[in-house]
Amino acid sequence: MSDAIRFENVWKEYRLGAIGGGTLKGDLQSFIARIRGQEDPNRKIGMELMGEVGEYFYALKDISFNVPKGQAIGIIGHNGAGKSTLLKLLARVTAPTKGRILYDGRITSMLEVGTGFHGELTGMENIYMNGAILGMTKAEIDKKIDEIIEFSEVAAFIDTPVKRYSSGMYVKLAFSVAAHLDSEIMIMDEVLAVGDARFQQKCIQKMKDETTVAGKTVLYVSHNMNTIRQLCERVVVLDHGQLIYDGEVEEAIKKYIGIANVNYKREYSLTDCPRPKSGRYTGEINLKKLNLLNTENNVFSEGDVIDLNIEVESKKNVENMSFMFIFQNLDDTRVGMSESNEFSLHEGINNISLKVPLDCLINEEYKVEISISQYTDNRHMRCDCAKEAFFFRIYTKENKMKADNWSPSNWGRMRGKPIKAEVNIT
């Protein structure tokens, strides 16, 4: 398939610090030097070197990739990785310092929801305004106006100035305009982060239809991995201006989350684990240490049982205690929870053996949040909690169906027990 967008060795340089302050003199010096063919006195030596030099830094370093027509591509990366700069270059808000970007067709950029909306104008007037800013002509908007209003769900308020709109209505209207443009390429920066969940789903569905049916190319930037999973077929990961991964979605998300904090070992100290902020811990019961007993490399198969010991320090004798294990993916998606039976603790160090069954888990890396709570007065009181207490990985290699290419966006994060199917003989 032919390319819709092509980035060729794109660099973008920004100047650090106060821009404009006291630069008139500097600029004149540079200008005079340039006319006389001398070296610019204000240019730092070694400016041509790559990377961060002096007051300049590169928001994008040598970015090259192609996007085929009709593909939905996600761009992820931490804050400051260069995602928005990339979109800004493509949206022609600013120009690259080096390299070039080529594209086919028209681009609709939604770097912000409701660009050019004016509070005093009515919803209807703003549709035309916003549409025109995004590059539609009046005739084109006329053709789509009914569709836009219907999609936006604010038909009843379409003749009201948008300053009277709730923020949700505002967003819905704005998204509707952009989603209905006749462009070949759409670029979106976190626009789905606003609006309620149902409307978000509707938007994602709309975008998917646009790519699969209408053959639009979509570039989508988000920090929300779930929307990335739903929308994108391919993901580019940026880090400090560099492209560090380009390819399959789940793999990219793992790259983004950073495997760095994953820690496979047998002994874990629970005292150093982060505690959730929203807890009132009396400090009387403390999780101390955790030992995995039946593993060498923290790899288990679905259906295995983890044998582990936990050391708990208690300042007094307590009853009705129980553990809670919350299984999470590395991107913090919570997968499920297991509870232990109740037990009693005596004063001092208690060594507790636990057998944790690993049913229904798909091939994936996991981290576990452990909390210990007491059941009193008909409710659980959390006494202590260790996030990221230990890590393990599920790898089920036997002949179980779909183990290797499980698709979380389609099938979820839990594999149910097999269903028994029998054909009745009549």
Partner: protein, 286 residues
């Protein structure tokens, strides 16, 4: 695979003579909508609405008539002081408002410009057009007064030179656009200019025969010491021509009018070239 043709190529280099006229044409609906937006938003939540377009120059004219006309005696002879000052004020207020509004194009619209691409010239052009609406209203008022004075034997007599009027307006618009765009291009880096614009416009106004009749001042009148220098201001021949046509006073000096046009075209071109250069990356510095 053979090298494929792409519709758009975004590069660090640019062609300084590529003014995107085709694109501008494609975005004409946007220009129209901006004009509408500017106009509607300007008078929203005011009691008098567009009547303000009339009240403002009327008040200025009254003040000028009293202070410069009656007290200082700088008004023209032969026509009522009021219509003399009204003619200058109406013409100047179009030029002045175009100049000040286009000169902060980038700064006041940076929120839109930072998010989406459209030919940047759309913004100043729509400003010039939206000011044209206000000017139209004011000019209508001016015409009413002219008609009134024509029937009252006040010394006002209209001649065929009023045919030049559209040309005057076009020249004022081009001049204001050119200057405004130069200033707005420079303000992306040096905000100081934004502070100065109001002052520059005010000074310029007094270097133009708005508040006084230049033919009454010896140094400025034709043959005077400063006349040649004074007439280099491209707005002056326009004001003179306008007054000559509608009021029948003063004279048109074609030589200086021609120079005024040359200046206008040069400034307009410099403005567009500069704008073209700055528009690509101004978001990084603004």
């Amino acid at each position: 695979m053979a090298e494929k043709k792409f519709d758009v190529v975004i590069e660090s280099k640019y062609n300084p003579l590529d003014f995107h006229f085709k694109e501008l044409l494609r975005y004409r609906d946007l220009i129209f909508l901006f004009v509408r937006r500017n106009f509607v938003a300007q008078y929203k939540q005011t009691v008098l609405g567009p009547a303000w377009a009339i009240i403002q120059p009327l008040l200025t004219t009254i003040v000028f008539s009293v202070i410069f006309g009656n007290v200082a005696g700088l008004g023209a002879d032969g026509v009522p002081t009021f219509i003399f000052y009204l003619s200058g004020t109406v013409m100047w207020s179009y030029f002045g408002s175009c100049l000040t509004n286009t000169s902060n194009t980038f700064i006041s619209n940076s929120s839109i410009l930072g998010k989406v691409y459209f030919p940047r010239l759309v913004m100043p052009i729509s400003t010039v057009f939206s000011n044209l609406i206000g000017f139209g209203i004011q000019f209508g008022m001016f015409l009413c007064f002219i008609i009134y004075y024509l029937f009252t034997d006040s010394g006002v007599h209209v001649n065929w030179m009023i045919c030049m009027f559209p040309l005057y307006v076009i020249q004022l618009a081009m001049l204001a656009l050119g200057f405004g765009v130069i200033i707005s291009s420079l303000t992306t880096k040096y905000r100081d200019l934004a502070m100065l614009v109001g002052f520059i416009a005010e000074m310029w106004k007094y270097l133009t025969p708005i508040a006084y009749d230049m033919f009454k001042l010896h140094a400025l009148a034709p043959g005077g010491k400063l006349h040649a220098l004074y007439m280099l201001n491209p707005v002056t021949p326009i004001i003179n021509g306008f007054r000559y046509g509608f009021l029948g006073i003063g004279q048109i000096e074609w030589f200086y009018y021609g120079i005024g046009w040359a200046t206008t075209i040069v400034i307009f071109l410099i403005g567009v070239l500069l704008f073209n250069r700055v528009e690509r990356t101004f978001m990084d510095t603004i």
